[in-house]
């Protein structure tokens, strides 16, 4: 081991020790949190009713979300802040002579979230430019979240990063959508079989990027398709980015079967740049493994010492199809019209949960973009090598205590095009190991630690490569 590596390890150990001292000092000093996010206020219940490690949801929280942010049964009996009526319920009988009566949340349905991290980076070669070894509280983000219901049939969610530091500093709207619940009841379908949401939203991904517990993204969700010097493909779509469009979806089999079909712009959280609308489809099935058949059907499993998440396996698959458009203004390739490059993303996912203690999940994905190269001599489009990639991640979480969670994550993306373009990684495959620890100091306050052992990337000089490892430590709290 080189002296610089020994030094890095020593500094990492010192930082972990500092983090421990920080916790030892701060845990008793953090005042009891009386301010709680909106749903906790609405029902006067703790965060842990729905979350096992916010923002990750437990089984009850998942059903609460699937049911349009309402309790699965007898919602009205649990609401401690009765809504403001926009019309008496009896007015439904008078409709359409009146505006259909609705409801407003009686208090403004807003919560806030702040997360901020300090980072410690490995020493970067000077050929890559100067980067400070440490950065105190970058990235940091302040988010406003508004969510709730307008009566039984309508639910909404809006979140906006209104103050962002560090990478991704543009911030802006994350999800902003309205959902019409239970459309299927008009055609005799069971409850929540058919819902409609429209606006800007994260696709019905197997594992949320927007509401992940990890301080860093899943790499494969950020992968876009760019041919670079190898062709024309320049598809900005990132599966993990919010998309604009509408989605039909629903649930069956006691909330264990999920389906969704979405039509979206495909330009991430930006206005449309082409006419074609992409399609995303997902299905998943959860198998609860409890011995008692009655318990398998319940929202949560009951045990000798109380309720807990089911021990379960969930399997799913997804498919995304779109047609990227180039030369739409016909100036990039003179003499050619709009060039349509079909593409797709396809993948499968698995999640295993062992009650409230352990979770193991992962996703594998393949992406393919057609790469059409205009030939000015012939006037035809030649088929270049398609831009493809495979990738995925696997993550394990273990609850040592309900407030202490150990995490191990592995990300990998194999992109021959990225490698051949020579800017991102030393090899075809970029992989990253990210062990982490999260400590729920309170139900709404969390301390996070993550170390990233990154892939090697070119370091600005021939045959020089650098592994940009980093260590993050920070806080995340909501109110």
């Amino acid at each position: 081991m080189s002296s610089s590596q020994k030094k890095s390890q020593l500094i990492c150990k010192a930082l972990v020790l500092l983090a421990g001292i920080f916790l030892f000092v701060c845990v008793p000093l953090v005042p009891t949190a009386h301010a709680i996010p909106y749903f906790a206020r609405k029902y006067e219940t703790s965060c842990s009713t729905c979350h096992n490690n916010f923002p990750e949801l437990n089984d009850f929280g998942i059903v609460f979300k699937k049911n349009g942010f309402k309790f699965p049964k007898d919602e009205e009996t649990y609401v401690k802040q009765p809504p403001t009526l926009l019309g008496a319920p009896a007015q439904k009988q008078v409709f359409p002579k009146v505006i259909y009566p609705g409801e407003l949340p009686s208090t403004i349905p807003i919560s806030f979230r702040y997360s901020g991290f300090l980072t410690y980076n490995s020493k970067q070669p000077l050929s890559m430019g100067f980067q400070p070894r440490t950065d105190l509280f970058t990235p940091n983000t302040f988010t406003v979240i508004g969510a709730g219901t307008f009566g039984e049939s309508l639910s909404f969610w809006i979140d906006d990063d209104i103050s962002v530091g560090g990478s991704g500093a543009n911030g802006g709207l994350g999800d902003g959508y309205l959902r019409v619940n239970d459309l299927g009841r008009y055609i005799g379908l069971p409850k929540q079989t058919l819902n409609l949401r429209f606006g800007q939203f994260e696709l019905d991904l197997p594992f949320s990027q927007a509401r992940t517990i990890n301080p860093t993204d899943y790499d494969v969700y950020d992968q876009s398709a760019v041919a670079g010097k190898l062709g024309t493909t320049n598809n900005p779509l990132m599966l993990g980015a919010p998309q604009r469009g509408f989605e039909l979806g629903g649930y069956a089999d006691n909330w264990n079967f999920t389906w969704s079909v979405a039509a979206v712009n495909g330009s991430n959280d930006a206005p449309a740049t082409r006419n074609f609308k992409d399609v995303y489809v997902r299905v998943s099935q959860q198998f609860n493994l409890d011995r008692n058949p009655a318990v398998r059907k319940d929202v949560q499993a009951s045990g000798a010492t109380g309720l807990h998440d089911h021990t379960s396996i969930r399997l799913g698959g997804f498919y995304y199809y779109g047609r990227n458009a180039l030369n739409t203004d016909q100036t990039q390739f003179s003499g050619f019209g709009t060039i349509h490059e079909p593409f797709y993303r396809v993948g499968g996912d698995l999640r295993f949960k062992c009650g409230d203690k352990f979770e193991l999940y992962g996703l594998l994905m393949y992406g393919r973009d057609q790469n059409l190269i205009p030939d000015p001599n012939t006037g035809f489009l030649l088929h270049g090598s398609p831009v493809t990639f495979t990738g995925g991640f696997a993550e394990a979480e273990y609850w040592v205590y309900p407030w202490l969670i150990g995490i191990m994550r592995y990300d990998a993306v194999n992109s021959p095009t990225d490698f051949l373009n020579g800017e991102i990684s030393r090899f075809n495959t970029r992989n990253r190991f990210s062990p982490g620890l999260q400590v729920l100091v309170r139900g709404n306050v969390k301390a996070l630690f993550e170390y990233q052992r990154s892939w090697e990337k070119p370091a600005g000089a021939d045959n020089l490569f650098f592994r940009p490892n980093s260590f993050l430590a920070g806080i995340d709290f909501v109110f």
């Binding site: 703790s46 009850f60 049964k73 649990y78 949560q300 010492t305 309720l307």
Partner: protein, 201 residues
């Protein structure tokens, strides 16, 4: 003659019974709260009386779970009383207590049960029983297991009345969720005895 003797003793016993009843008094008073949010919900009780035991009631006391709350929040019972724990919610609940009277060896978990079903437990140990739900950590209540049947709970003004206390010298004690226990001697000699106490944080 025999009949008249029987009648005499019957009347005498009846008169004695009512005399004793008439002699039993009540302890009334006010509990002042210092440093705690409210004087409401403080248990005032007569401590163990040497040589005297009390038969627990045949009827069970009830602790319900409704709208994500235990109801009532404070439930005093006599030692040996059976408490029926109900679940009136359509969500799952759990009931457990980490100790009885501070003794963690007496911790117990009743498990979970669905809406409409009840589980019962007989409390044989004296002291406060903090009830919790491990699904909804904000839920809590207290059962206080008293050594005698002479107890009461203060109202919003801190006032209490303990009825049917026979004449004698006793130790009056308090228990409250937020305050420290207090005690003071009290002597019941007439129809009504006043005892005011102060509970400190």
């Amino acid at each position: 003659m025999k009949l008249s003797k029987l009648a005499f003793w019957g009347i005498a016993l009846t008169l004695m019974f009512f005399a004793v009843g008439a002699m039993a008094g009540e302890i009334k008073g006010t509990v002042a709260a210092q440093g705690i949010r409210s004087p409401e919900g403080i248990i005032v009780y007569v401590d163990t009386i040497a040589g005297k035991t009390f038969a627990p009631p045949k009827e069970s006391a009830v602790m319900d779970q409704k709208k994500l709350m235990f109801m009532p929040h404070i439930l005093p019972v006599l030692k040996g009383t059976t408490v029926d724990f109900l679940n009136s919610d359509s969500v799952g609940h759990n009931v457990y207590w980490p100790s009885v009277g501070g003794d963690r060896k007496k911790a117990h978990n009743l498990g979970t049960w669905p809406q409409g079903v009840k589980k019962s437990f007989t409390f044989e140990d004296i002291g406060a029983v903090p009830l919790l739900c491990n699904v909804h950590p904000e839920m809590s209540a207290y059962i206080f297991v008293a050594p005698t049947s002479y107890f009461a709970v203060t109202d919003a003004h801190g006032e209490y009345t303990i009825k049917d206390v026979p004449p004698g010298k006793y130790t009056l004690k308090t228990w409250s969720e937020q305050g420290k226990p207090t005690e003071q001697p009290v002597e019941v000699s007439g129809a009504q005895t006043t005892a005011n106490l102060t509970v400190h944080r």
